[in-house]
């Protein structure tokens, strides 16, 4: 793995070590720290060097052979058309908001309101809905594998990677028309500032100011709309090198709440969708490039 580029890519992660930090993760972290330390002490490299490095990183992002996240995209594509469940149906008739089976640009507009469910759903929630209604699939098993691990693939991660990739190159377009979409965004903003847990932390504790770090890890200011929020939201799902896994926003928020010392958030539940909706609002117009690759 090109560790240096991966370390550069780790723009908005907190420094929380993975739950079972593998040796590779530690090595990457060490590389990240060395790099960041270099930035602190050494003179800034000439601009053309940085630009070369960024260009190399960009190329790696778009190169399916360098980013293992694209393996998840491929697995997701197979799962999408595979007949499964008691109805022996594929997901190809699943409506992700743009019409049954229409994938191009659908992710850029999620979460959004779905009339058939009468609720706002993100990608993963909608997939679970389609698995249940269209396929008659046992979603208990799917939910048990919501986060992949060694020897355990996650249908939700793979499918979300596949679907999100169909919006790569498009701009984030938050859907804020239906009253329930507006409520989601408004509650998401309140939740962003809601403090709790033994440390009294909220999202805003770390993500409401410019140029802050936790240890050496830079923290994007997500309290204002603009480039930081765009860069963050436009780069999920991502391949996490330290976890050797593709992760979606569901995992990112789960991990944020872990580090906030909050209880385990329920997968695919309303507060997470609300936060995602708020963050998409902050990130409106950001150009999606996924799956990305990060520390």
């Amino acid at each position: 793995m090109p560790n240096k580029a991966a370390a550069n890519a780790a723009i908005e992660e907190t420094k929380g070590l993975g739950m079972k930090l593998p040796i590779l993760g530690a090595a990457v972290l060490a590389a990240a720290m060395t790099l960041a330390a270099g930035h602190l002490t050494a003179q800034a490299p000439p601009l053309d060097d940085s630009e070369k490095e960024i260009e190399r990183y960009r190329q790696m992002l778009s190169d399916p052979f360098s980013n293992p996240g694209f393996l998840a995209v491929d697995r997701g594509e197979v799962l999408w058309s595979e007949k499964r469940g008691t109805k022996s149906a594929s997901l190809e008739a699943c409506d992700l908001g743009e019409g049954p089976g229409k994938l191009d640009g659908a992710f850029a507009k999620l979460p959004r309101y779905f009339a058939d469910a009468d609720r706002v759903m993100d990608t993963e929630q909608r997939l679970l809905w389609c698995m249940d209604k269209l396929q008659g699939l046992d979603t208990k098993d799917v939910l048990a594998r919501r986060f992949s691990g060694p020897g355990r693939a996650s249908d939700l991660e793979d499918l979300t990677a596949f679907i999100a990739n169909k919006s790569s190159g498009m701009k984030i377009e938050p859907q804020l028309k239906h009253a329930k979409e507006l409520e989601m965004a408004a509650v998401g903003e309140e939740l962003f500032y809601r403090r709790g847990g033994v440390m009294d932390f909220s999202c805003a504790t770390c993500h409401a100011d410019e140029g802050k770090r936790i240890r050496l890890q830079g923290l994007p200011n997500l309290s204002v709309p603009g480039p930081a929020a765009q860069a963050t939201m436009a780069s999920w799902p991502t391949y996490r090198v330290s976890q050797s896994a593709l992760r979606t926003m569901q995992h990112r928020l789960w991990d944020c709440y872990r580090q906030q010392r909050w209880p385990v958030p329920d997968y695919g539940s309303d507060a997470l969708t609300a936060l995602t909706m708020f963050l998409q609002k902050q990130a409106a117009g950001g150009e999606i490039a996924v799956p990305s690759i990060k520390r």
Binding site: G196, L216, P263, A271
Partner: protein, 204 residues
């Protein structure tokens, strides 16, 4: 005659504006229902951790920018929650204090039961100037004791701040380590020694 519809229109748009405002700020009950949907399955002990007390509820309501009367009430309320050592000795062992400052474990749902929590001070503060891996969410505390000439009043204020940050700064971003039982009294004394012992790397 032509004015009337104009006024009606203006009124209508004002009302629409008011409706949009109402949409912008959801009720506390609505927010709480979202919290319940996502965290409702957690144990009562975990639920209690995210049920804001009176001070935190005020901080949440005002996004930490509380009005001055509320700020005074918070300081008074939180000061009453600070426990001082019975023997009056505030400084422990700086070497142990370093370990507490450098330990980021504890309080996470992934922590095994019985995990000893740290203060994770380096996550947000510079302390030992030789340590390059420090955060900037809080101010630099390098040379903290030395700069304050090891003044007993400064030691007492720092003890209070670590025990309960809001007893000093209302709605401070810093955890209330003692009051929320993240750190015990000995750990706080050790961290205080890390800040105030002349032999501590913080003051070198």
């Amino acid at each position: 005659m032509t004015r009337l519809p104009f006024i009606t229109l203006a009124l209508a748009s004002l009302l629409a504006g008011a409706a949009a405002q109402a949409q912008d700020k959801p009720s506390q009950a609505t927010i709480d229902s979202y919290v319940k949907a996502t965290f409702g399955k957690a144990s009562p002990e975990w639920q209690a951790r995210i049920t804001p007390d009176e001070s935190l509820a005020a901080c949440n309501l005002h996004r930490n920018a509380v009005p001055s009367a509320e700020a005074d009430a918070i300081i008074k309320r939180e000061l009453a929650k600070v426990g001082f050592p019975a023997d009056g000795k505030l400084l422990g062992n700086w070497k142990e204090g370093y370990k507490v400052a450098n330990n980021g474990r504890g309080g996470q749902f992934s922590d095994p039961p019985g995990t000893v929590a740290g203060g994770n001070c380096f996550a947000c503060h510079q302390l030992d100037p030789k340590e390059v891996s420090y955060g900037t969410l809080g101010p630099s505390l390098a040379a903290y004791g030395k700069d304050r000439k090891y003044d007993p009043d400064a030691i007492k204020e720092a003890y209070t701040k670590i025990y309960n940050s809001m007893a000093v700064v209302p709605c401070s971003n810093m955890p209330r380590f003692g009051t929320n039982k993240v750190l015990d009294e000995q750990q706080i004394k050790d961290v205080l020694a890390y800040l105030f012992d002349p032999e501590s790397p913080v003051n070198k």
